[in-house]
């Protein structure tokens, strides 16, 4: 069964084409990796699939719902862990999850059950009653992942889920992602860590300049290009030039605040 299809999906900002006519299909329960240098269009692609950016042209369907015409249905079947932090730091961990449960219309009993369930899963049960601003970076990340899972999404987007985490936390998140895959959740993962993609993904798409330039299982890609690692394959396709990135609004503001503070 197909979980996600996109048909010539395109997003342009003024004259810049961030996502250029991307067509792909992802099976239900597949763990699909999106790889690409900074600014390649991974996050923009995910944002369109998650209905927070409108495509300039083309179309896409998630769980058979059109991303433009059936936004609300698409939204209730997806979960997303963004690249930038999206927690309310003034709220306690448990309150963040409670608000999330309400936003996804889980009734009270279920909300309570799921909150303790996901907190246990990411090992934050002890910290549930602390304000998120007192959390460490890794704890915040784990809380975001817990939140993204709380409403049992059919499709889960993980935009660089292990960025800046220590090896322990990264391992536990990997195990966890594998567990999710077993229960049939479709997962779209972006990452810059090639070993992560190799370890986790059924198939990977390498994106550059908004276009998919390679798409296959990590093993077949390696064989095809006689590369020892996925990183060799990646560099083969995308070259060695360093890219500039147009950062998202959150990141931009964070930088600005850092300058001020």
């Amino acid at each position: 069964m197909i979980s996600i299809t996109t048909d010539k999906l395109t997003k342009t900002f003024n004259s810049f084409t961030a996502v250029d006519s991307v067509s792909l299909a992802v099976k239900k329960g597949e763990l699909f990796g999106l790889l690409g240098p900074n600014g390649a269009g991974k996050t923009t692609l995910i944002s369109m699939l998650a209905t927070i950016k409108k495509p300039t042209s083309g179309s896409a369907r998630l769980c058979r719902h059109d991303i433009e015409r059936e936004q609300s249905k698409v939204r209730s079947c997806i979960g997303i862990v963004f690249q930038d932090p999206t927690l309310d730091e003034e709220l306690k961990g448990q309150e963040n999850l409670d608000i999330h449960g309400r936003l996804y219309h889980l009734e009270k009993g279920k909300r309570k059950k799921r909150i303790s369930e996901v907190l246990k899963l990411v090992g934050l049960s002890q910290k549930a009653d602390m304000q998120v601003k007192t959390y460490s970076g890794g704890m915040k990340r784990r809380l975001e992942i817990a939140r993204g899972l709380m409403h049992r999404p059919k499709v889960l987007f993980l935009d660089e889920p292990t960025l800046g985490l220590d090896p322990q936390t990264r391992r536990s998140i990997w195990d966890f992602i594998k567990k999710l895959k077993k229960v049939g959740v479709t997962i779209i993962l972006t990452t810059h860590y090639m070993e992560e993609a190799e370890y986790l993904c059924d198939r990977v798409a390498i994106i550059d300049h908004g276009k998919i330039i390679a798409l296959d299982s990590p093993n077949r890609l390696k064989k095809k290009h006689k590369g020892k690692t996925l990183e060799d394959v990646f560099l083969h396709y995308t070259g060695r030039r360093i890219r500039d990135e147009e950062a998202g609004i959150t990141e931009r503001n964070r930088r600005r605040m850092r300058f001020r503070g």
Partner: protein, 269 residues
């Protein structure tokens, strides 16, 4: 059929689309309230300025202005100060939209299966609740220092006006904030809008005794109707009949919520 599908997918406690919308707006409101409760400094900060205006300007001007239309100057001033407090705290509550964008929480709200209208309504009611609290505190303070008001009915009517003023200006603030991403720019625009509205609303002087040109401009100021309504209901002195104030302000409130929702739904992150 549609209803059932929705229930199945989301386990909503509520049934109709309208109820779901209210439930979602409540969620957005609830979060605003938790945040508000955590930052007591916002309450105190919001009250400091009107208190200064009242204590210093009120006392100062009382010595040269004997009274307006049968009321003492302080009595005349209080409804205006309430209107001013509502204007300031309402307009600036739009800043929560920018804070949510900067700290990323806006994304969490935007990917959730809730309508843009309920986000707008939740934010508006949230901002209006805190503004209204400020207004009520000034009212109670005034009663404590011995200001005489027209009676209980008048007080209830004044609360209706407070609600309308808060809802109108919160949605104006939220609408503008939904198009902006930078905090200092928002503050600039707010001051630029707030100051003329504040000065022309007749907080300090009766507009009907000003030159014709000023009266004409004042009639384009939504807060003018708010202050007039508050004054009419609290001390029984008003330029226009109360129902006119009520209708104009309600019309402004509804149209600005609709425009705000439209702008908000168009905004991308």
């Amino acid at each position: 059929m549609k209803k059932q599908a929705l229930l199945k997918e989301t386990d909503a406690e509520c049934a109709s689309a309208g109820e779901i919308m209210i439930y979602d707006a409540f969620t957005v409101w609830l979060r605003e309230m938790i945040r508000f409760w955590r930052s007591k400094s916002r309450v105190i900060g919001g009250l400091a300025m009107p208190f200064l205006w009242l204590a210093i300007m009120g006392t100062g001007l009382s010595s040269i202005v004997p009274g307006v239309g049968g009321a003492s100057y302080i009595e005349f001033l209080i409804p205006g100060i309430i209107g001013m407090t509502l204007l300031f705290s309402s307009m600036f509550s739009g800043i929560s939209v920018i804070v949510d964008k900067q700290f990323g929480f806006m994304k969490e709200i935007l990917v959730a299966p809730i309508s843009r209208l309920s986000i707008m309504v939740g934010k508006t009611v949230g901002g209006a609740t805190t503004a209204l609290l400020n207004g009520l505190i000034i009212l109670v303070l005034a009663i404590i220092i011995g200001v005489h008001f027209a009676g209980l009915t008048g007080m209830f009517i004044s609360i209706v006006f407070m609600l309308l003023i808060s809802a109108s200006f919160v949605s104006l603030g939220v609408a503008i904030a939904s198009r902006m991403s930078d905090m200092s720019g928002f503050q600039m625009i707010m001051n630029f809008l707030i100051m003329p509205m504040f000065m022309l609303s007749g907080v300090f002087f009766p507009i009907d005794q000003t030159p014709a040109w000023m009266q004409t401009i004042a009639h384009f100021d939504p807060l003018f109707y708010g202050v007039d309504g508050l004054r009419g209901s609290l001390i029984g002195i008003s330029i226009l009949p109360l129902f006119v104030d009520f209708i104009v302000l309600s019309a402004f409130c509804i149209s600005i919520v609709l425009i705000g929702t439209y702008l908000f739904s168009k905004s991308e992150l």
